[in-house]
Subunit: 280 residues, 4 copies
Amino acid sequence: MCRWLAYTGSPVLLTQVLYTPVHSLIDQSLHSRLGAETTNGDGFGVGWYDAAPAPGVFRSIEPAWNDQNLRELAGHVSSHLFFAHIRAAIGSAVQQTNCHPFRHGRWLFMHNGFIDGFAAVKRDLVLAVDESLFPEIKGTADTEVLFYLALTFGLEEDPPEAVARAIGLVEACGRARGVQYPFQGTIATTEGENVWVFRYSSQGKSRSLFFTRDVRMLREQYPDREILREVSDDTRLVVSEPIGDLPGAWIEMPEASYGIVSRGGDQLLPFAPKSPSRAA
Amino acid sequence: MCRWLAYTGSPVLLTQVLYTPVHSLIDQSLHSRLGAETTNGDGFGVGWYDAAPAPGVFRSIEPAWNDQNLRELAGHVSSHLFFAHIRAAIGSAVQQTNCHPFRHGRWLFMHNGFIDGFAAVKRDLVLAVDESLFPEIKGTADTEVLFYLALTFGLEEDPPEAVARAIGLVEACGRARGVQYPFQGTIATTEGENVWVFRYSSQGKSRSLFFTRDVRMLREQYPDREILREVSDDTRLVVSEPIGDLPGAWIEMPEASYGIVSRGGDQLLPFAPKSPSRAA
Amino acid sequence: MCRWLAYTGSPVLLTQVLYTPVHSLIDQSLHSRLGAETTNGDGFGVGWYDAAPAPGVFRSIEPAWNDQNLRELAGHVSSHLFFAHIRAAIGSAVQQTNCHPFRHGRWLFMHNGFIDGFAAVKRDLVLAVDESLFPEIKGTADTEVLFYLALTFGLEEDPPEAVARAIGLVEACGRARGVQYPFQGTIATTEGENVWVFRYSSQGKSRSLFFTRDVRMLREQYPDREILREVSDDTRLVVSEPIGDLPGAWIEMPEASYGIVSRGGDQLLPFAPKSPSRAA
Amino acid sequence: MCRWLAYTGSPVLLTQVLYTPVHSLIDQSLHSRLGAETTNGDGFGVGWYDAAPAPGVFRSIEPAWNDQNLRELAGHVSSHLFFAHIRAAIGSAVQQTNCHPFRHGRWLFMHNGFIDGFAAVKRDLVLAVDESLFPEIKGTADTEVLFYLALTFGLEEDPPEAVARAIGLVEACGRARGVQYPFQGTIATTEGENVWVFRYSSQGKSRSLFFTRDVRMLREQYPDREILREVSDDTRLVVSEPIGDLPGAWIEMPEASYGIVSRGGDQLLPFAPKSPSRAA
């Protein structure tokens, strides 16, 4: 029940994407238009890639709109690929270890949505996490468990397969406990080069997800926009809710689909969870 | 640009007033209906009287809706007179020392509104604070300066006079600096026995302020409400925005007025600032 | 690697115990003399009983020595039985949900020490927690898991037995993973009437633990101390490290022992963990 | 009563200076050896220069030793000139706006020490701050007022003169109020190219201050140290307390002196405050 943003393309200062656009992600932390909650004030996180071996992650439990340190960081850190997430907590505690994006090695993972009936299924799900990964779970959020399930199922080798199996397990465990619609949400994950994004919910009514049109088309449409001339052709934003003020710049991802954003071209494909029996 | 509540009457657990009513003050921290901002997520404060020589004050920069410590405190502290305030910051930093209510000895003071052009007039106002009080200013909020001006002008002896002179000085200093409408807001102050509340703005369009009808009348109107049978006849709430679900329970304070809530009966009187020249 | 204090007896303002004594618990948060670490600045917690159905718990990640809200609370809340804990984190995150005391229903639980090799054994231990209790685990601290193990083993019926079985399981799981000395520490738990305290470590070199001599004896020894005349005969303090300046006021609990502090008289008994095989 | 560090030279990741050395600044936040207080747990700040027009500043009220965000930042931000400060508060509130370094335009300023009797002289000092600078004061720390006094007296044109006049005013105001030794401390300030450092106290017993020997000499002395081969000849550290484990690497700054660290060579000169009368 949150908002997120994934950026990949020419290196930019984070502030240009997070703060500059009209109705930016930071604005959305105070006044979201499409979200289930209008306020996303229960913490935030930013994860970014640079020359270091692992991505940096900055997380805070303060509302993003007022966090001075986020403002400083965003004005001084530039990156070719970063994730940002603002949180509206629905159950787990407001603490840094529950803020997205979550990190494992070079991987980042974030989510807008929830595992329904999480208290009832948490034990089952946690038991399915690989024993070697188990000690790395630092917080108590449903998304962190989902991330470690996906890692258990091979996220680092085949993200769509791993996410399909993780959500499949969530659905199987949830239904076994009587939860009608166990999963809801949009997900983004990356290893620092490619970005995988997913939109799916057990009910078929998923949280919104949008990506930007090809930059070359946007340049033709908005020849006066300086930012569009500055960024590379393969620059891409994926967001929970459109930011900025360029009508026609955004394409909504279809229900039950996933996308891969990479230098070699983007792909948009149908998505379906894999239930544990089918996966076995 | 905040919300506040003043309670006086039979001792109650804070939670009964802060959390229990439908559309309670804590709800208003997330979704205010009448306020200038819909989210009041920039900290909060509670001040309460008990047997101790000075009131207790609990303040935090977290959004009130998620603060577990406030929930604990409210479930264990009971008081016959308390103030609660939720903040939507408009300029000064989000830090505990800027959270209302402010305290001096046995006095508490809180405010919903602002001193317009505060950066421009702050120096003039601060210079007018009594030298012996000056070192007590702990934060950087406009309201804290207003409180120390009122103390300088005799708040402890004659609250309406002191507040009138403090706002009068704010208006004089503001206008000298070219500010059209220097003051806006509603104020509450108390020494632990009586509560003085003020509604005034230089523009004549003040933030809203409501107080409860006489409890005896409410009991007749709502004979089934248990809480109304429990509280004493002289119980009174003053709020920025009605809480609860009792139509007809609230009376709006008129523009440019002030009230005194005390055991000996309440008063409602017109309010006008006193300019420094008239005050001299 | 922390410090704690348990008070039971005449109702007192928390401040009289937490702040007033020379070398108080709050002083110890900055400068501990006997502890493994000299600074206990990674958060704190206070749990207290009053007329409410469950104890209040106030926890913060700020160093106790500087927390203004703790100072306020301690000056306004009085209780006949309360726990206070200051933390020196050794592994798990500094977050409120990892601060002691932990609460379940009317029970409080706190610990100075650690489960050695916790990352390696956490999964085994968590699996042993009763399924119905599992969703209540809110943080990631070793002590919280220990508490839920004790609850699983019947803490609410027989605290010494339950704690012996919980520590026995910790030792069995630890040794199975090659940990030489799996448990270290002192523990206090209460349901609001009796206080059970434990001192034990697998290595036989446990953290220190002291309790006060009988108040009647102290009164004879220190006839001029006003506080000793004020408190009831059955008032008792148990602490990690002596506070105050009364030589001879403190008795060290022996290695591998436990005590019960209750109105009907105190007991001091030997303590030994129960390994899972013996417990079965 | 704090600790600070100023680095200038080859661009390095902050972590190499803040965390890597044995007895690093972060260690000193827990266990200082030479400081007046052994724990510096009341917040911290880092200010760094990069290509952006103004330096970045990251400040937090958490103890530095446990701040995960500082760790992340230090592992991802590199700079040729940065300041770091850990705080042991002695009077003003623990809040971000009281954390060093303070910033104005391109300037940073930090201080280990205090203005004695600050409550008594604060009003006098604040009145001496230039009216145009007054609204920029965001916190309540003595050092921030000192910084704005130095700016008032021309810090941006002639730092030694401005600091001498600021401390001179502090001493004059303090003595007028009966304070025997009004100023104590070491100061660092920079505009991003040169670093000015000061060691002075009214009593002649100033807090310690050390700077590194010429890197070329250190390389001869420690030919095996890789870090010394990596950094440029003009790399320099100035610190409250030596860090690392290179005997002979540190020179103590004399009492009542100041230094300028710059590409064109360093200078070490005597320092004396200028009293207001002499300054006029």
